[in-house]
């Protein structure tokens, strides 16, 4: 039968896949998508815990409220991030992160 553990493992693997993508990929858009994936993985753990942490027989809606906020913030973040990517592309004509090394000390 399905336990909380199952969900957590799925979340962990999703997170790991996202992280691998962030490290391995060079296309900044893909990296951005992987980041979103990692965020969603975190959301999955929250929702899972909320379901398993019953409160008067109901799921814990505080956790779900947090997920709600996360999604909202992520949406805003995507908007701003994509705008930055557009600006970056305008400046560099490239979305390859290896060419963006302005932060080098």
């Amino acid at each position: 039968m399905i336990t909380l553990n199952h969900y957590l493992v799925v979340a962990a693997m999703l997170f790991a896949i996202g992280l691998a993508g962030v490290v391995a990929r060079r296309n900044i858009l893909t990296i951005y998508m992987c980041l979103e994936m990692m965020l969603s993985a975190a959301n999955l753990t929250l929702v899972a815990f909320s379901r398993f942490h019953l409160h008067d027989g109901l799921p814990d809606y505080h956790a779900q409220a947090l997920v709600f906020f996360t999604i909202t913030v992520a949406a805003a973040e995507v908007a701003v991030g994509l705008a930055i990517i557009v600006a970056l592309y305008r400046a560099r004509q490239s979305v390859d992160v290896t060419t963006v090394t302005k932060l080098q000390g």
Partner: protein, 202 residues
């Protein structure tokens, strides 16, 4: 919930997730992400989080991904140049993913709650409706919710709304402000520097 359904959904989520990383073409990545998020939304639904699942589909799989695709189209990004993946990056990413997965998996069963089966812990709507009869309970005055609860239905959206507006009104306001700031920021960022261009043209 039948176990095969879970495994199917998990497979969809993880499989398309993997595709996001592996696909060369950003459009393919984006479309895989849509599928991944859809699977995730379904998983939310299996956890009785209907509203969150819906939002996941609407906001993520819908709006956000459209935005991604729009940008990909706008910038006309083709496949990554065949400069080839840097081996170190790929290996590093794989190692990280593997270690992290192992680590998290190995500790996943380390606390009792983790072993609780989903069916062993069903939602108990009648208990909630009894509890709501208490005068001090936050749901006591929520007539609509109590009506649903008394009827044995889970008023998911209403409960979510009650939590947000009752407990986190300030946070909600700030979220709105954040979105506003984000909007303004996007406008500023994506605006072409007209003055500069004019001077260039002149």
């Amino acid at each position: 919930m039948p176990a095969p359904l879970f495994y199917l959904l998990a497979f969809i989520t993880l499989g398309f997730g993997l595709l996001v990383v592996l696909a060369r073409n950003p459009v393919a990545s984006a479309l895989s992400l849509v599928m991944c998020f859809s699977g995730l939304a379904a998983l939310f639904v299996t956890l009785d989080a209907y509203l969150i699942g819906t939002i996941q589909v609407l906001v993520y799989a819908g709006a956000v991904m459209v935005l991604f695709l729009f940008i990909i189209m706008l910038l006309d990004i083709k496949e990554e140049e065949k400069k080839g993946q840097r081996l170190t990056a790929v290996v590093g990413g794989m190692i990280l993913a593997a270690v992290l997965t192992l680590q998290l998996t190995s500790m996943a069963g380390s606390f009792p709650l983790a072993k609780t089966k989903l069916d062993d812990k069903p939602l108990d709507i009648s208990a909630a409706s009894t509890a709501a009869k208490d005068k001090n309970h936050p749901l006591h005055s929520m007539q609509m919710i109590r009506k649903d609860l008394d009827a044995g239905k889970l008023p998911d959206t209403a409960l979510m709304g009650q939590t947000l507006f009752d407990q986190y009104p300030l946070h909600l306001q700030m979220m709105g402000l954040l979105l506003l700031v984000g909007t303004v920021g996007v406008v500023v960022l994506s605006r072409r520097d007209t003055a500069k261009e004019e001077s260039k043209g002149a």
